[in-house]
Amino acid sequence: MIDFIVGHYNYWIVILLMMIGFYTVISRGNLIKKIAGLNIFQTSVFLLYISIGNVREATTPIIADGFTEYSNPLPHVLILTAIVVGVSTTALGLALVVRIREAYGSIEEDDIHYKDEDASL
């Protein structure tokens, strides 16, 4: 049991980060905090991929004499792509927040909702 918990410690961290990020996105009304939550959520998935690539008792995937077992480099490469996607999403999200702040003068979800209700009356 203890072995199971300790042996999978990076997966526990993945789950913890995933829940923190997801909860932040859902529960916060501040648009910047939502983006921060989204970032944590995505980062947890990066960790998941990198953990998957690890092979026990293996070295980094660089060919050298005397080593025959290598960790799988493919998940790392995949996650580089996903990191780029994450950065673009964050940049676009923050740019939208800037525009929202210019248009509404606020980045609180409730305020914005209230102002739209007002405008439609």
Binding site: L38, T89, R99
Partner: protein, 492 residues
């Protein structure tokens, strides 16, 4: 030479053209560049469908790396049909976009607008073309990121919040898909869809595979706007620039249906579906979606919003077809994907014409306009009949197959829900027709003129297609039946 590289050219062409378009001077040039690219893509997509229509497939190895190590583009009739829908709608939206976009988007933004449009177009084509599931995720994000930017270019400030809301929900959906892909990769060591199809059956009872399936299903359902994950859709469709609403409504959710079909039937398999409650989930959500969204559509104070809710209901029909799990049900889903692109394309184009002349689609602003814009009104009327499913229109064909599929399994409840959905569609379309034609006109300084010819022609091409594919079902049903064979679902 071109035929060998057909599959790649279709993706490479818009991708290369997008940054070039962004660098062009503001004005008509960026539009012209996008127009040429989309029409060339339409030619390539038609050619591709013609090659694979007999049930054969094209395998293209990117960079000469043999699958399953390299990325493979594997084109069969389903990929080719979806690529044709995307390319066709893109090609027909652009002539329409010239006047509409000039009115709604500031001129200095046009190079970026059309560059983002091409990226979105490219992402959707890429999803349709690729045979590698991680590559699919990347294309999904390309199309999503560019569509967030496009939606935010709408005239009203609500466009910004709509784009933001879509960004948050879309990213959660895509990340869920990414988690699912990671878990599947951990179990099988491959990302090639065909290879996954061969390797997964031996480990279908593993809990990781079930978890991966659940993550992927929820992730795709978010992009699909399947009830109850549809919350981003009404705002995004309502506040986006009209041409973008036309394009997204007719393609984005259709491509998501394709991703769902591929994931469920190619990556996993029909055999896997039988041992999980997937079909029940699809049936329940499909039926709930049809009823909820159709009733909600009746009470919308804005015509664009009304049609957005109607789109959510139509997605319910498509999912219902998958849930029935029979060859007939899937045929109905695939035919409806095609037909719904035609009717929603035509309807949103007509609403875009109203926006062009009056600047609004709110019900109290567009009263009585039907008599001053007769061609636009007639287009709404005929496409509306198709949406309801009146015989002689494309909408009838797909609903007919869906009802047949339900009766085949003696699921009377489902058949009744489908018909109720059609009756509710009569109610909400009547709301729109009545407002446009029978209510007194809103007082205005000068009378409203008919939409410009460059907007009417694409609109009417789609309207005529609605009637054409309602009378001649050889192409749509024929290809759908080929596809169903390829997906490995047999008749009962």
């Amino acid at each position: 030479m071109i035929e060998e590289n057909l599959s790649l050219l279709l993706v490479a062409l818009p991708l290369v053209a997008a940054p070039i378009t962004a660098l062009l001077p503001a004005g008509r040039l960026p539009w012209l560049s996008a127009l040429v690219v989309t029409w060339l893509s339409l030619v390539l997509a038609s050619w591709q469908l013609w090659v694979v229509a007999d049930g054969s497939s094209i395998s293209y190895e990117l960079g000469g790396w043999a699958p399953p190590w390299g990325i493979e583009y594997r084109i069969d009739a389903l990929n080719a049909l979806v690529a044709l829908i995307v390319a066709g709608i893109g090609a027909i939206t652009l002539p329409y976009a010239l006047r509409s976009v000039a009115k709604e988007v500031p001129e200095h933004q046009t190079p970026y607008f059309y560059a983002a449009f091409l990226l979105c177009f490219d992402g959707l084509l890429g999803i349709a073309q690729t045979g590698d599931i991680f590559n699919l995720f990347v294309f999904l994000e390309i199309s999503s990121l560019s569509s967030y930017a496009l939606i935010s270019m709408g005239q009203k400030r609500q466009a910004l919040t709509a784009a933001y809301q879509y960004l948050i929900m879309g990213t959660i959906g895509a990340t869920f898909l990414l988690i699912g892909i990671g878990l599947v990769y951990a179990e099988t060591g491959t990302l090639n869809m065909g290879d996954l199809h061969n390797r997964l059956p031996s480990i279908l009872d593993h809990r990781t595979v079930h978890t991966a399936f659940a993550f992927m299903l929820v992730g795709i359902s978010l992009k699909l706007a399947l009830f109850p994950l549809h919350l981003w859709l009404p705002n995004a469709y309502t506040y986006a620039p009209s041409a973008i609403t036309v394009f997204l409504a007719a393609t984005a959710t259709k491509v998501a249906v394709y991703v769902m079909l591929r994931t469920v039937f190619t990556v996993f398999s029909n055999q896997f579906i039988q041992v999980t409650p997937t079909e029940v989930v699809f049936l329940l959500l499909g039926m709930a979606g049809i009823l909820y969204a159709s009733v909600a559509a009746i009470y919308q104070p804005d015509a664009k919003r009304l049609l957005a809710y109607s789109s959510i209901a139509q997605i319910g029909y498509m999912v219902l077809g998958i849930g029935l799990g029979s060859a007939l049900g899937l045929t109905a889903t695939i035919v409806h994907v095609f037909n719904h692109a035609l009717m929603k394309g035509a309807l949103f184009m007509a609403l875009g014409a109203l926006v062009y002349r009056t600047g609004s689609t709110r019900m109290n602003q567009i009263q009585g306009l039907g008599r001053q814009m007769p061609w636009t009104f007639a287009a709404i009327f005929i496409a509306g009949l198709s949406l309801i499913g009146v015989p002689g229109t494309a909408g009838f064909i797909s609903k007919w197959y869906l009802v047949l599929a339900a009766i085949e399994q003696q699921s009377w409840l489902i058949a009744i829900i489908i018909l109720t959905g059609s009756l509710l569609a009569v109610a909400y379309m009547w709301n729109l027709i009545e407002t446009l034609f029978f209510q007194p006109m809103t007082p205005r300084a000068e009378p409203v003129r008919e939409a410009p010819i460059s907007m009417l022609v694409p609109m009417w091409l789609l309207v005529i297609a609605n009637i054409w594919f309602g009378l001649d079902t050889g192409l749509t049903v024929g290809i759908a039946e080929t596809v169903v064979q390829l997906l490995g679902v047999n008749g009962q």
